[in-house]
Amino acid sequence: MPATQLQERIAITGLGTALAPETQSLEELALRGLLVSTPETLQSLGFDHIHIAGLSADAGFELARQAASSALLDAAIDPLDIDVLLWASALPESHHQPGLHPQSHLARFNSSASRLQELLGLDHATVQGVAQQGCGGLFAALRTARALLIAEPALNHVLCVGADILQADCPREMLYNVISDAAAAVVVSRDGCRGLRWIDFHSVTKGYYWDVPARQKEILAAYFPTSRLIINELLYRNNLKGNDITHLIPTGVGSGSWPILANLCGIPVDRLRNSAGSFGHTIAADNIIHLEALNKSGGIHPGDRLLLFTYGFGSTWCGLLLEKTRL
């Protein structure tokens, strides 16, 4: 089969997500001193409550395990069928597991990906980590997954897992967004005859903004123009207009920003799919949480085009274009 035909069959075949079970209101967070703005301000920006993982050292990892298990079930494949496990986290501590001897200097090498491989029995998989992408980590993992499937014909399925939780005493507000704890997992398969076919991916990283506290205002200002540039480029090189997008899958950042971005890109606002409702902004999982909810609701039909977009500190803007496989 020609290489291009092989590439065209690569698809997302399984989705899984896990939001931390405990919720806290903005008022509770304010009382704990974990917000910068007032609850009223954040409510006006579309936030209501967030999901917080428990205090256990395993809380974040448990979310990742749940999401990964769900994705495997959704893809209807055996753990042994996974050829590569990609673990994506923005926070350095999310890549690390304390293990039985956390005080040992060797424990610094305890990796989350390997532990997950062991726990889920992904015995045929090799593992890698994706970092330095902020909230775009899972997108980068998906991109890498596709590249691996193209580069290595022996590979058939890649499991991408994104997980980040904040420490109990960590401020929960970042640039007017309130952060929830969650994980998401996606199976990318060589032959996705019943999945979401990969059309294209586009990302831009601007290292100029690497110092987030120092550049936070510039980051805010750059968000719309650069996001519009990325999305328009993605549409243009696939001969698409905004109106050709059936579903715009957002993140959980300030709800008012998405209609603005949709308008800037010529995507009708009624294509926005906040299918999972309001849950705050998770570092790794927003788009996949909405995508999974939309998928489970039966809202995705053959031929539908989906655009997933996110921004991650670093600074990376990335967009992913998918199409529901025609039966």
């Binding site: 703005s37 301000t41 006006s44 920006l45 007017y176 601007k206 100029y208 903004y209 205002k217 510039e218 805010l220 200002a221 750059a222 968000y223 719309f224 123009p225 650069t226 519009r228 540039l229 300030g254 008012g256 920003s257 209609p259 603005i260 308008n263 800037l264």
Partner: protein
């Protein structure tokens, strides 16, 4: 020329400064008197008498001033973000105070009132060279204060003339402005990449005129026989640069001097519809972000024009001038404005 004594208000302002120099240079007036809150702020010039005074002062009564033949009323508070009280103090009530005094003089002077195109508020489409007697909606208190002033002016028995002026951007030769305004501030935000969105499309006209045009037109107007309640529009009209050109020129200049632009770390703002811009503004307001509130407030000097595009009739103005207004080539003129505003930042 029969007129010999001229009174100028606002002599230290953006227009007043070059206008005073030009008036002195013509030699058409034996005496030029100016009113200034701080006489020391008025450059010493032969034939100019400076009177300490403030039209915003409720006690101002013109004491000590001669009976002028011409009053050029250029004084105004042009701070778009000012409170209604502060803006009306000079723009509306100060104008009324000056008129009351002028109307009481034994020899009735010619009164020329410098107004602004902003009196049309949120109106769109064609704006005639006529009184705007029905109050439009206003974007800010500045616009309203100047509209209120016009109502008083056009009801005066002196039958004053009104010159509505577009955004004065700078001098034709070097882009300098006596008092750099919100346009210059906005250009600086632009360079820093802190102006994310601008309402309008690439064809939207941005009506910028030079201080030179205002000065030469007023000198020409003074040479003409007064037209009772004549209204004139000093705008660039079809010579106005488009928003697309303005952004292209500004971005081009930024790229020429700023590595962040050369490396596309900073890119130009996105154009958007007024509705989207309003949504953006609301999100800024809701967040309470101090910096972006400041950015938007600065940009408000010209954004309303973009959100409510209009075309100002210039028939009467061109009659006074004797043909089309001598607007400089827009790209050259605006390039100088940009260079002047950004070269030193």
């Amino acid at each position: 020329m029969n007129t010999r004594i001229l009174l100028l208000t606002g002599a230290t302002g953006t227009i007043g400064q070059p206008l005073l120099s030009a008036l002195c240079a013509t030699g058409d007036f034996n005496e030029i008197h100016v009113i200034a809150r701080d006489p020391a702020s008025v450059p010493i010039q032969t034939g100019v008498t400076v009177h300490r005074g403030d039209l915003a002062d409720t006690g101002w009564n013109g004491l000590g001033l001669p009976n002028p033949d011409v009053i050029l009323h250029a004084a105004a508070n042009t701070y778009f973000r000012g409170t209604p009280e502060n803006l009306n103090a000079i723009n509306q009530h100060g104008t009324a105070r000056l008129l009351e005094w002028a109307e009481s003089l034994p020899r009735k002077p010619r009164f020329i009132h410098l107004s602004t195109c902003c009196v049309a508020g949120t109106m769109t489409g064609d704006i005639p060279e006529k009184p705007l007697t029905t109050s439009p909606e206003f974007v800010n208190a500045y616009e309203q204060s100047k509209w209120l002033a016009e109502q008083r002016v056009l009801n005066s028995p002196l039958m004053p003339e009104v010159v509505r002026i577009a955004t004065v951007a700078g001098a034709e030769n070097d882009g300098r402005l006596a008092r750099p305004g919100a346009l210059q501030t906005s250009l600086r935000w632009f360079r820093r990449g802190l102006l994310p969105l601008i309402p309008g499309d690439t064809t939207t006209r941005v009506d910028l005129i030079s201080t030179d045009l205002v000065v030469v037109f007023l000198l020409r107007l003074l040479e003409r026989t007064p037209v009772p309640n004549g209204i004139y529009h000093l705008t660039a009209g079809q010579n106005a640069i488009t928003l697309g050109q303005l952004i292209k020129l500004t971005a081009g200049f930024c790229r020429s001097i700023d590595p962040r632009w050369q490396r596309q770390q900073i890119i130009p703002p996105s154009l958007c519809s007024p509705a989207v811009f309003t949504a953006f503004r609301e999100s800024i307001t809701r967040s309470g972000d101090a910096l972006f509130t400041e950015v938007l407030a600065s940009a408000d000097a010209f954004l309303p024009v973009l959100m409510h595009p209009k075309s100002f009739a210039t028939t009467a103005t061109e009659t006074v001038w004797g043909g089309p207004l001598p607007c400089p080539p827009p790209e050259e003129f605006v390039s100088r404005i940009i260079t002047q505003a950004l070269a030193s930042t």
